[in-house]
Structures are given as structure tokens and as C-alpha cells.
């Protein structure tokens, strides 16, 4: 198979899929031209700076959906600081690997998390460093893992 069982499981039974109307932060990365768009919604407990809930919407291939699903699982209930340190490699490993030309999907998932946090920070006037400058919807950049 092209994909591991884990990938197929997360693709076929994606966790946390859906929209969130009262999200504290929403991040969208990728673009339709590239063939992958991920939108991630987070709900944050302001006191503990913890991500209490997360949802995603994804337009994309099997691995784009699976990485979105896996990433939401990996940050749900976690402090924002921990979510921000989620690396695409960690997502790939958690999925038991991805085909080489699909690694960019995991990069997108990492960036979607960061974009959602950035949005939350922006809305709440919390300052942050340039590590939160995420994907500028530039195809070559997105794909250039």
C-alpha cells in the first residue's frame, strides 16, 4: 500500500473533523492551486493557555486529511507551548511514515497549528516571535519541503 495502516485509519476515520463556530483561533494554510488547504480551529483556555478543543477542515489528498487528523489529536488538551513545538516529523512518525512526495502534507499540518495559534495571539494581543510567520500561501514554498 501507498499509505501505512495508521494513515489509512486517520484518513478513513478522521478525528476532530468539522467546523467550530466559537473558535478562539483559526488558521488556514496551503492553497487550492497546490491541491491542499487545511483550516484548523482551536478553543483555548485563557488561564492555562491550553488547547481544550480543536477541529479541522481539509481539502486535499489522503495524507493531507490524515496529517490534519493526527495533528489535531496531538495538540488537543495540550498547552499551546507544546502545540507550537509540534514538528512535521513528529506527525509523520505518529502516522508510521508517509511517502516521500507526501511529506509536504505534514509540513502543512504543522503550519496549520501555528497559524491557528497565531490567530489566537493576534486576536488577544499576545506578542510572538517570527517562528510564527507561517506559510504565505506561496505554492513553491508550501511544496518545498
Amino acid at each position: 500500500m501507498l499509505y501505512s495502516e495508521k494513515v489509512m485509519d486517520h484518513f478513513q476515520n478522521p478525528r476532530n473533523v468539522g467546523k467550530m463556530d466559537d473558535a478562539d483561533g483559526v488558521g488556514e494554510v496551503g492553497n487550492a492551486k497546490c491541491g491542499d488547504i487545511m483550516r484548523m480551529y482551536i478553543k483555548v483556555d485563557h488561564d492555562t493557555q491550553t488547547i481544550t478543543d480543536v477541529k479541522f477542515n481539509t481539502f486535499g489528498c489522503g495524507s493531507a486529511i490524515a496529517t490534519s487528523s493526527m495533528a489535531t489529536e496531538m495538540i488537543k488538551g495540550k498547552p499551546i507551548s507544546e502545540a507550537l513545538s509540534l514538528s512535521n516529523q513528529a506527525v509523520v512518525e505518529a502516522l508510521d511514515g508517509l511517502p516521500a512526495h507526501k511529506i509536504h502534507c505534514s509540513v502543512l499540518a504543522e503550519q496549520a497549528v501555528k497559524a491557528a495559534v497565531k490567530d489566537y495571539y493576534d486576536k488577544n494581543n499576545i506578542s510572538y516571535g517570527k517562528e510564527l510567520q507561517v506559510c504565505d500561501h506561496d505554492c513553491a514554498h508550501c511544496a518545498g519541503e
Binding site: K19, E28, K33, G35, N57, T58, F59, G60
Partner: protein, 396 residues
């Protein structure tokens, strides 16, 4: 229920073809270059296979060269015509935007060697006009290569008209008939085809066998593979006798049942098209009329092809997408882009390619499962969300 609807990618070998191959593995296994009995038995079979292709293509057996597939035949046709052109100081080639990569990549190679290539635009119909070819021909044109039918959208090109124009202009004309052979009538003489490529695994023959037809006295072949004197010295390598024999048996079978197969398959195709285009914001790519009997190619707005294919496979439907997902490319199909579809729509394509083995029940199964999958994926899609919200405009 499992439904194989990816016959444009490859087909199952027919019983007839397999039966023809079997005795060649362990009984008539000789090398046709060998003088002895088992060698000459192989040579005999090779010669009969060549006659079969000649008969159904309406050419001479000596005009048939066996290759390892459609890609090799395409490569050899183009490199040979280019070599002749170069000798005559003619270095301009005409082709189309939506050829197979076996053609497009060979043209790129020729570009690096100083050839100029005109790629004709593809009208929305998916059918170019002979006039486009006529307008593009120049005094230094050494080759026109236009596919007989497109592998993604199945549209059939006006080959006899193009052939006539090329004959009148004295320009060699090659057609990549890999998708057409065995499915559409081909008469290289009546259609003024000077060179033609086909591949056996697209009509229930084995993989790894192709045919290159070249009209005698037109373009001298240059070798893609150098070595022994097989195929009149034009294609080295011990001949794949079982494969060639199986290819000929499959071609004969396909040509003899062409009309009935086409009738059956196009009826199934039309039913699929009628039902699936009822899905909102879906479109049939390329016109329905001049179309391979088995080809259905649709785009669905707001979703991406690969996830659609995976979910279809889960429901037992084996199909493909226009996009080269699995080949490591992130770009959507060059064919759909050539048709003028925007990138995001081209990503949402689905090709269902049928053959005479498909049944009405299978078609009904596809019709039953597809709409639900589309809705499910749209539900999950931020692009669909934007389309529905009016943040993004519907294109189809």
C-alpha cells in the same frame, strides 16, 4: 462488489490472449534468431503476430516494429522523424498541449537539441481541429504528432483530416494511438497515418509490448536500443515472444469485437455521464460525442481527486484521477489545465474508464456510492465551505 473502472491505465489480460501466450513459455520458448526447430517455431509465431497487426492496421508486416510498450514506440517515432528532419535542415515539430508524457518529454529532449516545438492549444471540447494543424505547418516542419484519443478525457482527434493535411504538405505524421488501438477502427492507409504507436496492455494484451508502425519508404527508424539485429536491426534485444504473441491475439480479438464492445461500453458510459453529472457543480471534461467508448472524466468542485479515489476504492470502485498524485508530482493534470480548467478544479477530477467486462450492475454501484462520497468530502472541505459561503465563486 469490486468494480474495475481504470481500463485506461491498464486492462486485465483476456483469456484468449493468455491462452496464446502460455505455450510460448515452456514449449515454443526458442529464440527466433536460432536456426533450430524450437527457434524457428518461435520465429514463425513472431511472423504470424506481425501479420496480425498488419492485417488489422491495414499495412504491410514489414512496416511493423515490436517494442517494449507505447512509450518506447512513441520515443522511437519522434526521434526517427527528428533525425530525418535534422538531415533535411527541418527542425520544427507540431504537437498538442495534451499529449502523453512519452511524447511531451521526448519533445523536451528534442528542444534541447535545437528543435522548435509548437504545441497546439486544446479547445474546450477536447478536440483539436485539422485547421489548427494546417495553420501551424511551416516549410521547416519535420513532424506532426497528434494523439488519436486522449488518455485522460478520451476525446478523439480528427486523425484522417490531419493525415490528409500532412500528406498534402509532405510532412510525416505520427499518431499516439495507445488509447485508440483495439477500441476504434484504424486504417493507416485510409487515414493517411505515416507512423503509429500502440501498447498491448490497453486492449487486454500483456504489459511490456508495443508496436510502432512506420510507412515503408517514409521515415527511416533510428534505434532507441542498439545491439543485435532483431526487428530488421531497428530494435535490439531478444524478442518477447510470449508477449508479442499475446499482444497479437488480444488485438485480433479486440478488432473483431470492436463494434459490439463499443456499443455496449458506450451505453454504460453514457449512463454514468447522465447520472453523475446530476451531482451539483460537476462537469464532464471534453465533449461527449467524439469520445472513447469507455471514457468518463468528471470534475467535482471543492474536493481533491486522491481522497475521492481512496474512498471509492473502499467502496469497491477502482478508478483514477487526472492528477499525477502517485507519480510524485504535486501538479494537477496538464490535460485538464490545457482544457482551461483552473488549478483547484483540475485537482478534483475523476476518470472512470470502462471496458466490455464491466456490467450494468457495476455501473449502478458506482452511481449509488459516488454522490455520498462527494458530499462527505465537500463537508470536510474548506474550499467547499468558501464556495457555499460566497467567499469563493463557483467556476462549474
Amino acid at each position: 462488489m469490486r468494480v474495475y473502472a481504470d481500463n485506461a491505465a491498464t486492462t486485465a489480460v483476456s483469456e484468449t490472449s493468455l491462452a496464446a501466450m502460455l505455450p510460448c513459455f515452456r514449449e515454443y520458448y526458442g529464440n527466433p534468431s536460432s536456426l533450430h526447430t524450437v527457434g524457428q517455431e518461435a520465429a514463425e509465431r513472431l511472423s504470424l503476430a506481425r501479420q496480425t497487426f498488419a492485417r488489422y492496421l491495414h499495412c504491410n508486416p514489414a512496416e511493423i516494429t515490436f517494442t517494449s510498450g507505447g512509450s518506447e514506440a512513441d520515443n522511437q517515432a519522434l526521434l526517427s522523424a527528428a533525425a530525418l528532419g535534422e538531415r533535411k535542415g527541418k527542425k520544427h515539430i507540431i504537437s498538442t498541449q495534451f499529449e502523453h508524457h512519452a511524447i511531451l518529454h521526448t519533445l523536451n529532449k528534442l528542444r534541447k537539441n535545437g528543435f522548435e516545438v509548437t504545441l497546439l492549444d486544446i479547445p474546450k471540447s477536447g478536440v483539436i481541429t485539422a485547421q489548427q494543424v494546417k495553420d501551424a505547418i511551416r516549410p521547416d516542419t519535420c513532424l506532426v504528432t497528434i494523439m488519436f484519443a486522449n488518455n485522460e478525457i478520451g476525446t478523439i482527434q480528427p486523425i484522417p483530416e490531419i493525415g490528409k493535411i500532412c500528406r498534402e504538405a509532405g510532412v510525416p505524421f505520427h499518431t499516439d494511438a495507445v488509447q485508440a488501438a483495439g477500441h476504434l477502427p484504424i486504417d493507416v492507409q485510409a487515414m493517411d497515418i505515416g507512423m503509429l504507436s500502440l501498447s498491448a496492455h490497453k486492449f487486454h494484451g500483456p504489459k511490456g509490448v508495443g508496436v510502432l508502425y512506420v510507412r515503408k519508404g517514409s521515415v527511416p527508424l533510428v534505434n532507441v536500443i542498439e545491439g543485435g539485429a532483431q526487428e530488421r536491426g531497428k530494435r535490439a534485444g531478444t524478442e518477447n515472444i510470449p508477449g508479442i504473441v499475446g499482444a497479437a491475439a488480444a488485438f485480433k480479438e479486440a478488432c473483431e469485437h470492436m463494434a459490439e464492445n463499443a456499443e455496449k461500453v458506450s451505453r454504460l458510459r453514457d449512463k454514468l455521464i447522465a447520472e453523475l453529472t446530476k451531482i451539483p457543480h460537476s462537469i464532464l471534461n471534453g465533449e461527449q460525442e467524439r469520445r472513447l467508448p469507455g471514457n468518463v472524466n468528471l470534475c467535482f468542485e471543492g474536493i481533491e481527486g486522491e481522497s475521492l479515489l481512496l474512498l471509492l476504492d473502499q467502496q469497491g470502485v477502482e478508478a483514477s484521477s487526472g492528477s499525477a498524485c502517485t507519480s510524485g508530482s504535486l501538479d494537477p493534470s496538464h490535460v485538464l489545465l490545457a482544457l482551461g480548467l483552473p488549478h483547484e478544479v483540475a485537482h478534483g477530477s475523476l476518470r472512470l474508464s470502462l471496458c466490455e467486462y464491466n456490467t450494468e450492475e457495476e455501473i449502478d454501484h458506482i452511481i449509488a456510492v459516488l454522490p455520498g462520497i462527494i458530499s462527505y468530502l465537500r463537508e470536510m472541505s474548506p474550499v467547499w465551505d468558501e464556495l457555499e459561503n460566497g467567499q469563493r465563486e463557483h467556476v462549474i
